[in-house]
Symmetry: C2
Subunit: 341 residues, 2 copies
DNA sequence: ATGAAAGCGCTAACAT
DNA sequence: ATGTTAGCGCTTTCAT
């Protein structure tokens, strides 16, 4: 099955490549192609199973019709939801999406971004690993439009959209405090990332508001992963036995903690309260339905798409915008009351 | 920021494009480029921020270094796991992956496959919606290597990998029967798909083995979706009140059923038993940890990658292979005993 | 109403 | 050890 090119179709239809091209790309009217001729070309193309080469077209037009998305973990429902919204919006604009998973690895993220760029993507959405922004600096003056989502870098002059992490964490922590908890541990994600550090700030602010001392020893964990959640919760259990509540900084971390609690036969909220950043489709059906600070992933995705597509068309490319999306506290049953005193 | 091409780099380094190309693509040795020259080119490229155009390269070499994956729903952990394994294996072979989500829509699937083909992908893995195979027939004699996964079409001469659905469903149903259930409903997926229909066969075979009559009225549902699971479970509850167990044909359907049960204040397994096809990372932490017929998504992905990559290199392109992956029954607590009599 | 031809950026014969 | 050039398949300007 050798490939059929436009030239083959043109020959079969007895016309030139230009006429063939114009007939097949809907420019027949514009170029006053006889409708009879157009029909001939279309039929030939169909008959021969012609598939235009997007590669050649992209090279010629300098447009790929492609949007690139890079996420740290596509199996995390949070990122899947973001990617989905961007995909839907892009398709509405006749663009297709290519999705890449950096697997929480900065070097892979750098490679993927480069690859996407050299595929001529017209837009690029990156949910960065967040560790460092060195490899993203070049995006500041990229030809394609770029949006950073979630673990963004405010120092870069690139449009960003992320949740209001500080306020979300503040409210989550305050919820715990209101229910009588004073010794609250954080199962954090990757330190140094905006999302992690802002959540820490929110947590501290809530403690301070109630004059509860902050203790470094109540913070554990190093990645936004199930494994980190598992290790961190074990560490807290071992070293801070008087903690009555834990605050998991994302859904993966929460799963790790859940695994640890199950292993130690600890039940929630009787033995320990748990509050989590990020909701999950199954969160309400868990043995103890999770109380969460819910990020609106769909809104994050929609906003990212909006910025991306508006930058693409209009001239406000160089104006980098910043969007914050509110976080919603959803009370379920994983937080219990502590009798004061 | 106009784009820097190889020509610019070559000029800056004071060499020809060919020398520049060879220096940058690691062919310096092969072409006996002076290492001094090579360094010059590399430095110029770095300094100027040269990004080679993959598009031009693909057009010239007729190779894209791209593998395409199409799945019906990337936010389903089952498909995410498959995609991940294929991605990992592909990257090991220096290929990058472009992932597309058909959102359970055949027409979108057809478009995506076409798009990927015209981007010159060297390999294509499709997890079809499964409704019809018309749009996939042309893949039988495609130039790139193709593998179908999950809801495959055995009638096509394309390599396929899928689970042993019949045996999985047989064992799931038998488990229910052994625990004393006789009136067992199926919350099915999309009828007509291989995975659905083979599971129905397994279910019927298990009933027959115990001389339990099969009733069409105990089958409900029409899609592999949460919504279908929600509707189907409602229908069964309303029309088949004496059913003591339900068999959900995938994890999404199970979530829908869970939602329905919660709404009706039905608890599992006290009021009703539930068994599910597909495991889920959170399945064990649910209020009633799910007993499941677990598909080995990682193996499915690995096998698909293996077939894909072996077809690509070797000459056994035209030999289409079929792989079946075993399904494992995992007993947790969502299935309870019914006293006989 | 259609054709010829240039050229997108790269690689790889084929020269030196 | 390096340069020249053809050409991948398409779109589009410029002719006619």
């Amino acid at each position: 099955m050798e490939k059929v090119t436009l030239l083959h179709v043109a020959e079969a239809a007895g016309v030139s490549v230009s006429t063939a091209s114009r007939s097949l790309t809907g420019k027949a009217r514009q170029y006053r192609i006889r409708s009879e001729t157009e029909r001939l070309v279309r039929e030939a193309a169909d008959r021969m199973g012609f598939e235009p080469s997007h590669v050649a077209r992209s090279l010629r037009t300098q447009r790929s019709g492609l949007i690139g998305i890079v996420v740290p973990d596509i199996s995390n429902p949070f990122f899947a939801a973001i990617a989905r919204e961007i995909t839907i919006a892009s398709e509405e604009h006749g663009l297709s999406v290519i999705l890449a998973d950096s697997r929480e690895t900065t070097s892979r993220e750098a490679t993927l971004v480069q690859q996407l760029q050299s595929r001529q993507v017209e837009g690029l959405v990156v949910c960065p690993v967040g560790e460092t922004d060195r490899h993203l600096r070049q995006l500041e003056n990229a030809t394609e439009s770029v949006v950073l989502v979630d673990r963004v870098f405010p120092s870069l002059s690139i449009s960003t959209v992320t949740s209001d992490h500080e306020s979300g964490a503040f409210r989550a922590t305050r919820e715990l405090i209101r229910r009588g908890h004073r010794k609250i541990a954080c199962l954090q994600g990757r330190p140094g990332t905006l999302t992690n550090d802002e959540r820490i700030i929110g947590y501290k602010r809530a403690l301070a508001a109630e004059r509860i001392a902050f203790r470094t020893s109540r913070i554990a964990g190093d990645h936004f992963s199930e494994d980190s959640g598992y290790r961190a919760s074990g560490q807290i259990l071992d070293t801070q036995p008087r903690c009555t509540a834990m605050f998991a900084f994302n859904n993966q971390i929460a799963i790790g903690a859940l695994r640890r609690f199950a292993e130690r036969r600890l039940s929630i909220p009787q033995d320990l309260s748990l509050i989590t950043f990020d909701d999950h489709p199954l969160a309400e059906f868990l043995a103890s339905p999770l109380t969460v600070a819910r990020q609106d992933a769909a809104s994050l995705g929609k906003m990212a798409a909006k910025l991306l597509l508006s930058q693409r068309s209009s001239s406000n490319r160089r104006r980098s915008q910043t969007v914050r999306v509110p976080v919603q506290l959803i009370r379920r049953q994983s937080v219990g009351d502590i009798k004061s005193g």
